[in-house]
């Protein structure tokens, strides 16, 4: 029987201290916490920035570190810093060092890297070890690799297991599959792979598996001989067979088969029942071993962005919103070309909230506008920030005074909530890799480094 805590959906999202206390009292073997996601888009990986603040991450990490050190159980953090590249791992280590120094903590640390060099990826592609994850996606070419700013692999359970075998008290890992964080300890201690992986999949978003997730919070799992159980230590939130099944579906393209680095989790025969011990018990899941592959993620720089936000409230303008937008865009593009020439490529997009902002040209309800107000975002993307700013400023002036046929005299058409109106967003990135690479050794691109942490100092160890 192995019990563990999934602290929260992402390190820094938070959990209640009272929930962590209750969970710790239940005798967990380890605490796991995912710290990343590709949900936020490609910028975090491309630009090497974290997806939340130092203060938020430090709050969670301090409480988890304290609890794990007090109980003498491992703390396992994966996808450090959000995107799990080397810069994100360093960001997390700086927070960890600061906490260790303030709290005067000493422990054995393992750091697992997940960033992969473009040279390695190019060679792997040449050897035919890389294929697209989805069949409609093209093979990985050298041009895409060359354009990509940063590449990470999503590690499986084995690098974590290696670190645990070496006696790590704390693991800070780069990009990892969410599940590997939670299944590595159980796998190392003999849990059936089907139960280890499936329980990990269910808890990886923390309290998201509950019926009503009121606040981000910790959840617990317990793996037995032929079933596992998940529950919420927070009495305010409960899990039901339906909520657990729903979470197995969450963010997966296929509701029955979940592809993991060393195999496929088959949940088609899984049975979910309310447990007399509390929570939900799951049995019947299968794990089918497959050749070892890991996912690669990469992002490339795709230009610079400037935007402006405005409101439109004039009934005369709104009566023919589509006509107004079309004539504005046409005139703006003409002026832009007269200023920057016809050479430079740029994106000029009118995002009209209240009309087509969310679904764009697939909005089935677009057509003659009915309503009293819309929010307008003008979005300019170009090769340089200066060019994006130029495109936006011309579009802004055009929308501001573009005449509508029914008006006589000079009109000013949009309400800016802010001065200045134009917002420099900065670099824009785009996902490039959507591929998997076959590995002979699950640790091949995920080196594990060991340190003794003595208060705030990291002292390298051999193993």
């Amino acid at each position: 029987m192995i019990r563990y805590i999934a602290a929260t959906g992402s390190l820094g999202y938070g959990f209640l201290e009272s929930t962590l206390e209750t969970a710790m009292a239940a005798g967990p073997a380890f605490i796991g916490c995912d710290a990343g996601s590709n949900d936020h888009g490609p910028n975090d990986l491309g630009a090497g920035i974290p997806h939340l603040s130092v203060a938020s991450a430090a709050r969670d990490l301090r409480l988890l570190l304290r609890a794990s050190r007090r109980a003498g159980i491992p703390l396992i953090i994966g996808s450090a810093g959000g995107s799990g590249a080397d810069v994100h791992v360093r960001w997390t280590l700086n927070i960890l060092k600061d906490i260790a120094s303030r709290e005067n903590l000493s422990f054995r640390l393992a750091v697992i890297h997940a960033e992969v060099s473009k040279e390695w990826v190019r060679k792997a592609a040449e050897k035919g070890r890389i294929r697209p994850l989805n069949p409609w996606w093209p093979q990985l070419g050298n041009e895409v690799i060359a354009d990509t700013t940063c590449i990470v692999g999503q590690m499986g359970a084995e690098p974590f297991m290696q670190a645990l075998r070496q006696g790590a008290d704390v693991i800070i890992a780069g990009r990892a599959t969410d599940t590997a964080i939670y299944c590595s300890y159980p796998l190392l201690h003999g849990a059936a792979p089907a139960l280890a992986w499936h329980s990990a999949k269910i808890v990886e978003c923390g309290a998201a598996l509950t019926v009503h997730r009121i606040v981000p919070d910790s959840v617990m799992a317990e793996i037995g001989a032929d079933s596992f159980r998940v529950w919420s230590p927070n009495p305010e939130m409960r899990v039901t067979p339906q909520s657990v099944m729903a979470h197995t579906l969450y963010e997966n393209g296929d509701p029955f088969f979940l592809v993991e680095p060393g195999g496929v989790l088959d949940t088609s025969e899984s049975v979910y029942t309310a447990s007399p011990a509390g929570g939900v018990e799951v049995r019947g899941t299968r794990f089918v071993p497959q050749p070892y592959t890991v996912k690669l993620e990469g992002a490339k720089h795709a230009g610079f962005r400037s935007i402006m936000l405005a409101g439109m409230r004039d009934p005369v303008l709104l009566a023919d919103l589509e006509g107004f937008l079309a004539s504005t865009e046409k005139r703006a593009r003409g002026k832009i070309e007269s200023v920057i020439g016809s050479g430079p490529a740029y994106q000029l997009k009118f995002r009209v909230y209240g009309y087509n902002g969310t679904l764009d040209d697939r909005e089935p309800q677009r057509g003659p506008f009915s309503g009293y107000e819309v929010g307008l975002v003008i979005d300019a993307v170009a090769a340089t920030q200066e060019l994006a700013n130029t495109v936006l400023s011309i579009a802004r002036l055009t929308v501001l005074h573009n005449p509508v046929p029914r008006s006589h005299g000079f009109t000013t058409n949009v309400a800016f909530p802010f001065a200045p109106s134009d917002i420099t967003v900065g670099a824009v990135y785009e996902w490039t890799l959507n591929h998997v690479v076959a590995l002979d050794d699950p640790l091949e691109i995920f080196p594990v480094r060991y340190y003794d942490v003595r208060a705030g100092d990291l002292v390298p160890r051999e193993n």
Partner: protein, 104 residues
């Protein structure tokens, strides 16, 4: 004739990775689930038409045990790319809520 949102307890869309969009339609009762499944309203062609993707790339799953329907398709624009409108892919399900479910 009822709308899907009147019969389902949860309708959501979300990225399944940066290049794939997935819709979950979940039901509390067997009757509502069966009625929607048997209505034939949830098809790859219907979703392909709504979202402008080729029908052969749209997959529809009926998960009887979970009383859930899942529909998965490629995103037309990858998450966060310059022309994207929904980085998390989490507000693309609006039109699905309004699908008319004919009485079988």
């Amino acid at each position: 004739m009822a709308q899907l949102s009147d019969m389902a307890t949860l309708i959501r869309s979300k990225n399944a990775g940066p290049f794939v969009l997935t819709f979950d339609i979940m039901f509390d009762g067997e009757a509502a689930y069966r009625k929607v499944v048997n209505s034939g309203a949830i098809t790859a062609a219907r979703f392909a038409d709504l979202y402008g993707v080729p029908a052969n790339l749209v997959k529809v799953f009926f998960h009887d045990r979970a009383r859930a329907i899942k529909v998965t398709m490629p995103r037309r624009v990858s998450s966060g790319a310059p022309a994207d409108t929904d980085v998390y892919g989490c507000q693309q399900h609006g039109p699905i809520c309004n699908l008319e479910i004919p009485d079988a």
